[in-house]
Symmetry: D4
């Protein structure tokens, strides 16, 4: 499930369990559409807490600029990563077999003051990827300007596709 | 309630009603702690929809790099802004008199694929400000590096304050 | 999915995505049973916001008298249309894959004072069509009187069908 | 609590209990702002069911064109009225001491196919009044055209008031 | 779906739609196990309101001693019957396609003071039948004493069956 | 808090804690209005389980014909009593400091097949008393007929009071 | 479904119905992995209340040191056992056909002060078994020390398995 | 807020913020009633994550036998501690300003398989203390036997107090 890219990954895409991958891979797909290199892997808050802390602490030193973390149930991964990194962390509530992801959503979004998590919709991994792109596009260099242009084009494509369906 | 700064604002802090300001001003406070200039104002999705669309469309052209939008009930402001801007939009669900903000939360976070909103906790305006800082800190210039350092210091202060209470 | 009628449409039936059509077509069916011409199409609040605003602003000028809007999740379409039209807007919460439509319902019904949306039940498109008929039947001309008579007949038929099942 | 007007009332504003009046009077206020005559009174589904049925059955014959019904808890009044009248019925879920009005909302909005209720937000009586105005404004006579113009002016005023707060 | 018995029915088993019968027939089965004659039929609050009121008003005069009413969604049947009869009314919340029956439950159980409904669990038609038997068994005649004895035997059988599974 | 009556009590009114009495006394008040003698006391499922079981097992032998049980939170009292008595048990969900009584409601109403509890609304003790009266009124003796007449008068009074408020 | 072991069982694993066994057997499996002897059986709070009370009262005298109890809906078994035993009781909310186990969860976890139940996740029987092991591992004898070591090894295995998936 | 005892503490009582202390001190009070020495302090998962991990990892080596952890909102403390200790962890969901503690409850109880948390009721700190006593009483030494006897006495006192109120 891990992804190795020749380029320096800019986004760390992690999840609590490999069973989250079918949901979370849409984030990677969105990043790829915008040409953003990323790394992906399992970093479980509950089963590998020390590694998780280490992952979070070192991510920005390794060149990662945004973290996307998906988890279900008592979903602690996004919030715990946010507590050890200065990077923006995007949390994806993953729906498990009961409660339709409401437990995941509340466990991720209701963070205490001081440690924010940018939460997207239940199973909203694609939007997590797109949100990461928007964050990277705030960069004031040429890289950011190009991404912003791509995002404007992307929105135009969305509109055209939607309009075509309604014509 | 509006804020005029001599510097170019980097964050647009908007809300659906001036009754949201007591909740939302904590976002401005957090931005100020990190020295981030911002503009603040009422931009109602429902009462001034054309202005709202215009605000969103032009924000990135005016130098705004992150939008924070707070709203309550059927909270459409963050999502509508996200649909017309390439900037990352942070949504703050504001608690109204009934339902404890659950309606605001779901109206903001459950966005369709293609248009993400970075949602924080109910009434979580301070975290919205801090999340905006994290986003700006992804910048690869010196500006970003300084912000990342400030964020690391901020986390250390949080820890010291928490530890002091428990000593 | 779009519908072209030779007659002037009186109802605008719109939805956020063509995936809503299997749910929403029951509204069109109900309108047809009462001989009400309508237009149908995709008008996404999030993917074609400018077109959506334009649709709402001009609808009453084009002879539309009632708008029916269906949407799911963070369902902003009915409320946004209501903010730009003087027409009554009927909102249909469409159930998506999680939360059983509760997010759609709250996003549509919890509108702020000033901008009402007439909300029907989750997936209740048939009732949206019938409600549009009732609205049109408030007309004081002969057109209204005929519709009111049809509605009385319709209620009698409902009763007969229900009674027949229990006999 | 009842209202007698010299003019023929066009809207019937009813509620399950006089304890609902502090919530519901905002509907009457909105109607008055648009010059719509209305009648108001207690018509309890559970304590005066026969009168309630009679009220609903005869309303359109007495010249009433829209019914607004507010109720709390197991709120059956709007739906029961809708079952005996061809008029559009607007339901206002009134918040009682527990459950924040969620029971009222679901009891009103989740009507079966065939009998629609136009539901507004919890305690949303003002919007119920405004929705009634929009319904009456669908009238094709001069009366309707005037109301539509007033509604356009009303929206402009809303915008100006909102914009003034944010200036 | 209707049931005709040669004996005077003691329980009226009604439901809002014949689609409720697969759920509700378990009530009839429970009554039959205790030898209680009953009548069953569709009495829709919303589609045949006048008949429904009439059914409720006359039931105790026809010898009915307990009413069982099942309904889903905005489930008004049990409460409306309770408002026109002095008989105890047992309400069965029927699960529909969304919300898992929570709307049905709240619409039935949250009755205002003055008009009680004896609510059982979602889809709990068998318990509705058993509860009717318990009510009839409060009778001070020999009929009641026999029923009480049967209920004690029934509980013993339940225990034996449960114990056998765990042995 | 206990009540001693010279007459044979027909209803056992019990609750999990004396802190429930301010809510539950409305049940006793309703019984008194109909002249039904009752006994009242604390019978905690969790703090006096053996006594509770004994209370339930012997109630019908002591002449009690209906049990009303109020409890909050993980409210086990009504269901446990129902498991050891052949009498109908009316459960009153009592609202505690969190969750608005939803936990109490679900703990009482969602009983398994075989052991019904007649559940009334959250804090609905008055309706519990009235429901007990309706149950006792199913009696075929003169006692029952008198109660039924009183219930019909009671409903007429409810109507008059409601109608008076709306006049 | 019952389990007989030659060793003295240390854990009593009970459930309200044999239909809970497919969910609950994971608790037994976890206990077996740690070599903890246990007994398993059906002890229904509602269908065999006297046996249930007896089971709870005598368990600690028979050498049982922890009780695991699973139940669904109005799940009274864990709380009732906790009221009659000094042993720690672990409650497993079992999901039934509606409400996703939320009723079970609230019925188990919301116990009044004085009678705690150690609640695990919905359908979380495996965790119930592991929690029992942790409880037994608090023992200060060699038995406890060995269990603690096994638990440390178990956590290491969890980590290795998780890490392997992400490699 | 911290507690220093001359004796070796057996229970670690920690919480995410000193604002949780008014809720959590009831756990300490319960422990004291049973003569159990404990330590108390703030160990925030989000603001002092490394200290938190260290606290959890070393607790059992310092002689702690049970951990009680209280937290609100996205309450990650109990689960994170459980992931690094072999000790049983009792989680107390603390109610914050919105959602009545439901977010706290779900964030604590819905732990993934492998890492259990023994969850008590919302704000149920007293029960957390009592549950810790029950866990310690599973000890097979004289210490455990004495605690079990105290627990039996405690239950008898609870019963007497409850019975006295109902007399």
């Amino acid at each position: 499930m891990s992804t190795v890219s020749s380029e320096q990954p800019l986004v760390g895409l992690v999840m609590g369990s490999d069973s989250d991958w079918p949901t979370m891979e849409a984030a990677g797909q969105a990043l790829s559409e915008f040409g953003i290199p990323y790394e992906a892997g399992v970093v479980s808050a509950h089963r590998m807490p020390t590694d998780m802390i280490e992952y979070g602490k070192s991510a920005h030193e390794r060149g990662i600029r945004v973290i996307i973390a998906g988890a279900g149930g008592a979903a602690h991964l996004p919030g715990m990563l946010a507590s050890v990194t200065p990077l923006p962390v995007i949390g994806v509530p993953v729906q498990l077999k009961t409660l339709d992801g409401m437990d995941s959503l509340l466990s991720i979004v209701q963070m205490p003051a001081g440690v924010p998590v940018a939460t997207v919709s239940i199973n909203g991994a694609r939007n997590a990827g797109l949100l990461a792109v928007r964050m990277l596009a705030t960069d004031q260099s040429e890289f950011g300007a190009e991404l912003r242009n791509k995002l404007v084009d992307f929105a135009a494509d969305l509109k055209d596709a939607a309009a075509a369906k309604g014509a």
